[in-house]
Structure formats: C-alpha cells, structure tokens
C-alpha cells in the first residue's frame, strides 16, 4: 500500500466487519527515538487462539467470497521491512488489538498519508462505529472522539454533509498542526 493510512483503513474495516462498535486508534511518532507505532484496539467479536496464530497467513480468511486474506499480512510485511513488527492480540468475545511498529526514518516506510480520509471512510460504513483517534508527534497531540461528536449531534448522523465537512476540517487541520511544514 502506498500509505500507512491505507493499512489503517483496512484494519479498521476488519474491526467493523468483526462487529466492533468502538475502536481506539493510536498513532505515536517519536522522532527522537525514531519509532512510529500504530495501535488499533476494537471491541469486536475477537478471535480464538488458533485463529490468531494463523491470522498473518495470507491463505487464511473467514470469508466465503474468496480464499485469501491479504490485509494483515501486507500490514505485517510493511512493518517488518522497516525494522518493525506487527502483533495481534485477541480474545473471543472481547476484542482485538493490533500493534504495528516501524523505524520512523526507514527508507521503505510509506508516508502516514491521508489519515483524515481513512477515518472519514470508516465513519461512512453501513454499521455505526465510533473511533477514538489519538495521534502524537513527539509532544504534539491531536485527539478526536467521534462518540463525543455523536452525543453533541443528537439525531443528526455523522454522514450528514455538513457534519462530514466539519469532521474533515477538524481532522485535516488538527493533523497538519502536528508537524512542522515539510516533515512527513
């Protein structure tokens, strides 16, 4: 994938497919320590220990429409080629946590990319899901909790064009403030 945000979108889709109603997304960029960590924690139906062991095998999937599942294997490959790793922890009935680490400065590390676009895409999925998104770059922090936004909105859905516009600008501007110009 060309951007880390696309791997994130893919993992978030998995959470939604697993019936998650609440997802915590944390991206921590530590420039001095030269690490980038992405953690996605959901309250979906989770996986059995046997399935967790196989989940990074591309020839294992729960789908009936095809026989390969490339999402997590691709994410893991992206992390590993940047001196990082991807770990999956899961408990049936409780939820799943995915943590991916990267060497921040690694030449093969794809840019974080359009995180605002990925979060917006997930908020439009058919099943309503809330995302608590925290993104830090050293000591700068951005945070958005769509559950709070939803509470504020009452009966107005997140997919309403005006709300979408508001969310898009909060995300885009908030994330842009995280880094000085010119830094990926």
């Amino acid at each position: 994938m060309r951007e880390l945000s696309l791997h994130v979108l893919d993992a978030l889709e998995n959470s939604v497919e697993a019936g998650a109603t609440s997802i915590e997304l944390v991206i921590e960029e530590r420039l001095k320590a030269d690490t980038l960590e992405i953690v996605i924690r959901d309250n979906g139906r989770g996986m059995s220990p046997e399935f967790v062991r196989q989940v990074l095998n591309p020839f294992v999937t729960t789908r009936k429409t095809r026989h390969v599942g490339l999402g997590l294997p691709l994410f893991a490959a992206a992390a590993r080629r940047c001196n990082g790793d991807l770990r999956v922890e899961s408990e049936a009935g409780v939820g799943t946590t995915i943590s991916a680490t990267f060497q921040h400065s690694h030449i093969d590390r794809a840019p974080v990319g359009d995180m605002a676009g990925s979060v917006m895409a997930i908020l439009l999925s058919d099943r309503p899901v809330d995302i608590r998104y925290r993104h830090t770059v050293d000591d700068r922090q951005f945070e958005l909790d769509t559950a709070e936004v939803r509470k504020e909105l009452g009966t107005v859905p997140l997919s309403h064009p005006d709300v979408r516009g508001w969310l898009q600008s909060v995300l885009t501007e908030g994330l842009a403030d995280l880094r000085p110009p010119g830094l990926l």
Binding site: L70, L74, S118, V156, G165, W166, V170, G174
Partner: protein, 125 residues
C-alpha cells in the same frame, strides 16, 4: 478533542442539519463502495471521496456507504448504485475521474453508463 471554538461550530452544524434531516433520510438512492483490502489497494478511498464531492457540488441527496470485499477483486474499485424500483448496477474499475460522468448520466439523466457497468441485479420486488 477539538478546541472549544470548533465544538461551537459543531452545534451550529447540528442546528442547520436538523432542519433538512427529514428530507435526507427519505432519499431513495444508495451508493455503495467496496472497501476491502482489494478495494483500498485499488484506490477506493479516493473514489469514495470523489463521489461525496460530486454529490455535494451538484446538491444531490444520496446515501453513500462502504462494504467489504464481494469477491470481484480484479474489478475494484467497485461502485454500486441502487435506486428505488430500478435494478442495482455495479460499475467496475471506477477511478475518481469517472465519477462526474456516472453521476451525471446515471443519477441525473437516469441512463446506465453501459460501457463501465459490469453487473446488474434485478429489483427484489
């Protein structure tokens, strides 16, 4: 959370949105974008944003949502258009620059863009 000022903006957004909410919930058009690994890798996120932009530009009411993979990965990004009383049409390999024509011909004029359509599902009734 966003700054207080933006939360105030959100309250204004809510007040305005509540007024036209009824109309929007009753729209009979659904646009569905495949957002599985295959769709994402093929650019479905950008295609979806192009759809949202075009709908907003032309002030068309339609419900846009995403779904996972349906097994036709080679034709991603896949975009389905479902309208009350009409067959559901699937468009394949939909790039953002194809969106204006699909919206214009399919949604506004009511003609399927045959050269890009790859599937047709009869109405359920």
């Amino acid at each position: 959370m966003p700054k207080l000022k933006t939360l105030d903006d959100l309250k204004k957004v809510r007040e305005n949105a509540e007024k036209d909410l009824k109309v929007r919930l009753e729209t009979g058009t659904r646009i569905i974008v495949g957002m599985g690994t295959c769709g994402i890798a093929a650019g479905a996120r950008e295609t979806m944003h192009a759809i949202l932009e075009e709908l907003q530009k032309r002030e068309i009411e339609a419900h846009v949502s995403t779904v996972g993979c349906i097994g036709m990965c080679v034709r991603e990004p896949l975009v389905d258009i479902e309208q009350a009383g009409k067959p559901r049409i699937t468009y394949g390999n939909v790039k953002p620059d194809m969106i204006p024509r699909i919206i214009e011909e399919h949604l506004i004029k009511g003609n399927v863009v045959e050269e890009w359509a790859i599937g047709r599902l009869a109405t359920r009734e």
